[in-house]
C-alpha cells in the first residue's frame, strides 16, 4: 500500500534560498515592471522622435492644460507618499492604517484619472483625433498622444482596482460595479469614456474570479508588491508629463 507523504511548504530550509534575497512574488513583480517599462519606453521614444524630428509639431497645451497636468502630477506624487505609508503600516501590522492609506492612494489615483479624462474630453472637443489635429499637419501627434496617455490611464485604473482588492477584498466588488454603472449611464453615448468605462466591469469580473477562487487575507508582502506596481505607474508619469506636456507647451 502506498504511503501518503505530506509536504510541508513553510519549513525553513525546505527549498533553495532565493538568489535575490527576497520573496518570489516581489521578484515576479519587478520582472513584470522591467518588461512594462520597455513598453512605455517604446511609446515615449515614438512620441519624442516625432516631437524633435517635426518642426511643425503642434503645441496645443496652454496654461490651463499645464496647470491641470501639474495638479495631476501632484496627485500621483502624493499617492506614492500615501502608498509608501501603507507599506510602513503593513510592516508594523497596523491593519486599520493599511486600509486608510490605501484608500487615500486610491483617492489620488481616481482624481488623476478624472482630471486626465477632462483633459482628453477638452482635446477631443477641439477635433483632435488619433489621425489628425486642428493645430498642424502632423497626424502622428494624436496617435502617439492618445496611445501613450491612454496606456498610462489604463495602468492607473488597473492600479486603483488592484489596491481596492487589497484594501477591501470582496467588499470592493459592489463598489466597483456601482462605479461602472454610474460612469456608464453618466457619460454620453458618443463619448470615448462611454466605452472606456467598461474597463471597470472587466476589472470587477477578474477581481471576482481572483477573490472567490483564492480568498485570502492579504499580508504585508501583498501590500508591498501592490505598492511596487503603484510607484511604477507614478514613475512612468514622471517621464510622460515633461516629454508630452511640457515639450508641447504654448504659454
Amino acid at each position: 500500500m502506498a504511503t501518503v507523504q505530506h509536504v510541508v511548504h513553510d519549513t525553513q530550509g525546505e527549498f533553495e534560498p532565493s538568489l535575490f534575497g527576497t520573496y518570489s512574488k516581489k521578484i515576479g513583480m519587478w520582472l513584470f515592471l522591467a518588461s512594462d517599462s520597455l513598453t512605455f519606453g517604446a511609446l515615449l521614444f515614438a512620441y519624442s522622435y516625432g516631437r524633435i524630428s517635426n518642426p511643425d509639431w503642434p503645441t496645443p497645451f496652454n496654461g490651463d492644460s499645464i496647470r491641470n497636468a501639474t495638479i495631476m502630477t501632484a496627485c500621483l506624487l502624493s499617492s506614492s507618499l500615501t502608498m509608501v505609508l501603507a507599506v510602513m503600516a503593513a510592516n508594523r501590522g497596523d491593519k486599520p492604517w493599511i486600509r486608510n492609506w490605501l484608500l487615500a492612494t486610491m483617492f489620488f489615483g481616481a482624481a488623476f484619472t478624472v482630471l486626465h479624462g477632462m483633459e482628453w474630453t477638452h482635446l477631443i472637443e477641439n477635433k483632435m483625433t488619433t489621425s489628425g489635429n486642428p493645430w498642424s499637419s502632423v497626424p502622428l501627434f494624436g496617435g502617439t498622444f492618445f496611445t501613450l496617455t491612454g496606456m498610462h490611464m489604463l495602468h492607473v485604473t488597473i492600479g486603483v482596482i488592484y489596491l481596492g482588492v487589497i484594501a477591501l477584498r470582496k467588499k470592493f466588488l459592489p463598489i466597483l460595479l456601482a462605479l461602472w454603472l454610474i460612469g456608464w449611464l453618466a457619460t454620453p453615448a458618443d463619448s470615448v469614456f462611454h466605452v472606456g468605462i467598461h474597463v471597470l466591469l472587466v476589472g470587477a469580473i477578474i477581481s471576482a474570479i481572483v477573490l472567490f477562487l483564492k480568498p485570502k487575507d492579504y499580508d504585508a508582502h501583498d501590500v508591498e508588491v501592490s505598492g511596487l506596481y503603484w510607484h511604477f505607474v507614478d514613475l512612468v508619469w514622471m517621464f510622460i508629463f515633461p516629454l508630452v506636456y511640457l515639450m508641447s507647451t504654448k504659454v
Binding site: G41, I52, S53, S80, L81, M238
Partner: protein
Amino acid sequence: MHDTSVEHTDSKATYLWVWAALLLLTAVEVVLAYKQVLTPVHMLEVLLVLSVIKAGLITMYFMHLKGELPRMRWLLTISVTACFALMWIFFFRDADRIVTLGVK
C-alpha cells in the same frame, strides 16, 4: 536561508523629504516650460535628466530598491538601462539626422 521578510529602514521623515524633492523638481520643469528659453532638443535633454533623477528617487526610496541585494539592484538597473540606451541610439540619432540634414 536568506531573510525574505519585509523590513525597510527609512523613516516617515525621509519619505516626506523625498516627496518634497519630487514636487520641487516638478516645479523646476514647469518653470522651464513657461520660460521657453531652450531649443526643443536642449529642452528634451534637460527634462530627461530631471526625469531620471525623479525616477531614481522613486525607485530607490519609494520602491525600496536601495534595500535590495546589490545583485538584484544592478541586474534590474543595467538590463533596463541597456534596452533604453539601444532605443536612444537608434531613434534619437535618426530624429536628429532628419532635423540636421532636412531629410523628409
